[in-house]
């Protein structure tokens, strides 16, 4: 039975279901329960924005609050994963990766390879990503490219509640380390989500809108900007096909290439900064592997090469807008329309 719930609730539900199913699943992070050692209520927070609220009542000490030592507890989650557990560790904001990156980059990501295949590290690191919260330069970044670059990691970024639930369940069951990126501006967004458990396989992009004129590839929040753009484009007779990548590593190249082979035109929208980004990655891959199909230059719509500004007026300009996507799409289709 499906009902409308928010992405926040969907994530909570995925954690609940997997903890019920598999006793090796544990959840740890800063204030994910809240009130530890304090005189007031337990489960006082349930995470900084309440995502894990209520899980403690159901699963007790399988949820653990941590000290503010990301290297230690993210590393502990990784170590526990290498020893047979399936920890889901919360790194509050992915921006904080800088204080614990070694455990991810040089440990979790490399165990299997360095040890000649004899290791398995089924850890999930959940973290908030993205701008729009007026949280400024150190709490708003879309650092997906930094993790996508690293062999051995998987990187997931859902765009709605349905995907968030299915992808998180898959991430927990997955035997490799997964960076699970939750766009904070989508936490409140609702859609139909089945009550039962389901897993969405990785590397299966979602064609959220079909169209024959231009392929727009994106993930996370900007999928919604792309959908807005598609409405505008449709009014001028341009039918955009919109692909939500859902997982950035592994990535579903086939769906992207097939679409471009039909449309001949590509726009990649990425909330990350432009250099060595997902946008560049997709545009380059398509240019190399579907060059013959491209009728126009692929266009990248990204955040600018700047930190995220605080002032709302600036932050609103920072995030790729529907208008910018429309402009990019028009650029790729200009020749066709003129003809």
């Amino acid at each position: 039975m499906a009902r409308k719930i928010s992405m926040k609730q969907a994530i909570n539900e995925a954690l609940d279901l997997e903890m019920r199913r598999d006793p090796t699943v544990i959840v740890l992070g800063e204030d994910i329960v809240g009130g530890a050692g304090a005189p007031g209520e337990i489960d006082a927070w349930g995470g900084v924005l309440g995502v894990t609220k209520g899980l403690h009542a159901k699963h007790g000490n399988r949820l653990m609050d941590t000290p503010l030592s990301e290297s230690a507890y993210i590393g502990a989650a990784i170590g526990a994963a290498a020893c047979g557990m399936r920890p889901v560790a919360e790194l509050m904001f992915l921006d904080f990766m800088g204080v614990c990156f070694d455990q991810i980059l040089n440990q979790a990501a490399k165990f299997k390879y360095m040890f000649g295949g004899k290791a398995k590290t089924p850890v999930v690191i959940r973290a908030m990503v993205g701008a729009g919260f007026r949280a400024a330069a150190q709490h708003s970044q879309m650092l997906t490219p930094l993790f996508t670059h690293v062999p051995g990691l998987k990187v997931v970024c859902p765009s709605d509640a349905y995907d968030a639930k299915g992808l998180l369940i898959q991430a927990i069951r997955d035997d490799d380390p997964v960076i699970f990126c939750e766009h904070k501006a989508l936490y409140g967004s609702e859609c139909d989500v089945p009550e039962e458990s389901y897993a969405i396989p990785f590397a299966e992009a979602n064609v959220v809108r079909e169209g024959k004129d231009v392929t727009i590839v994106s993930y996370g929040l900007t999928v919604h900007r792309a959908l807005e753009a598609a409405e505008t484009l449709a009014k001028t007779g341009v039918q955009a096909e919109i692909i939500d990548l859902r997982t950035l590593s592994p990535i579903d190249w086939d769906t992207v290439i097939e679409s471009v082979e039909t449309t001949g035109r590509l726009v990649v929208v990425d909330e990350a900064n432009p250099r060595c980004s997902i946008a560049g990655d997709v545009a380059a891959h398509v240019a190399q592997n579907a060059f013959g199909a491209l009728k126009a230059a692929p266009q990248m719509v990204t955040a600018p090469h700047t930190p995220v500004p605080f002032s709302p007026v600036l932050e609103d300009l920072y995030i790729p807008s529907a208008d910018a996507i429309v402009a990019a799409a028009n650029k790729t289709t200009a020749r066709a329309l003129a003809a």
């Binding site: 204030d31 009130g35 050692g37 927070w45 150190q138 002032s311 709302p312």
Partner: protein
Amino acid sequence: MTNNPFPLPKDELLAAYRTMRTIRDFEERLHVEFAKGDIPGFVHLYAGEEACAAGIMSHLTDVDRIASTHRGHGHCIAKGVDVHAMMAEIYGKATGACRGKGGSMHIADLSKGMMGANGILGAGAPLICGAALAAKFRGDGGVGITFFGDGASNQGTVLESMNLAAIWNLPVIFVVENNGYAESTSVDYATAVDSYVDRASGFGLPGVTVDGTDFFAVYEAAGEIIKRAREGGGPALLECKMIRFFGHFEGDAQAYKAKGENDYNRTNRDCLKIFAGRVTSAGVVSAAEIALIDREVAALIDEAVGQAKGAPLPSARDLLTDVYVAY
């Protein structure tokens, strides 16, 4: 005129009170304005902790540098950052201390030796070691103070920095602002050792714990270790036990606190009341003098809020500037 039993002359007592009152009013006002929905982003208030910032900063000049935290307004004000520029920054205005690009968590004024509030816990500790190293190379007698909370005390950056400061004999003071909570988590849960002085001594640093609601306790302890650091005697740790009047950030329901905890603290452990009580009952400062400062500060904050609200927003062009000196 009665005898002054305090370690500061009267004008400095008044200045310290003015600093604390400015912080308090700044924060109380933000609380109100935030509730109205006028202020964007995450706002962490320093109200209740004023004696720590004021007691320490009384010993510093612009040559000394501080590295602050996410809860940085108090440090900024005590270090002399312009209150109007701060308020405008928090409102995201072009006239802000950071031209609207930083916000509450990133207010800085290097000309005042204020190296920035910081959204990353513990990040100021390495930075202040660098500031102290620069001071040492320059021989300008400057010291560096890094503030961090009981929660941030468990960040590797802070811990590494204590050892670095010790082996390089840097003029750095590590100030643990222990308000008992990190977000909703108690220090008793998160920190294994009872005293940060013990932790410091594990890094070869002398340390001292004081009641952070007592301006004079902070002032005296800080004075001694800052003087020693300035004279080449090396780093030290100062733990201030203090009280956070509000929630972790604005919007926090504070369910983790004990019932009545905030009321009790407001009534009995308000560092401003305690300070005012002591200096007036000693007869060094009059109630009227206190009241005058209160009025002046209230007007100042009013003015700052008014100016901030009326100030221009950054322009679109600002999005792309200030990334590099030259690129």
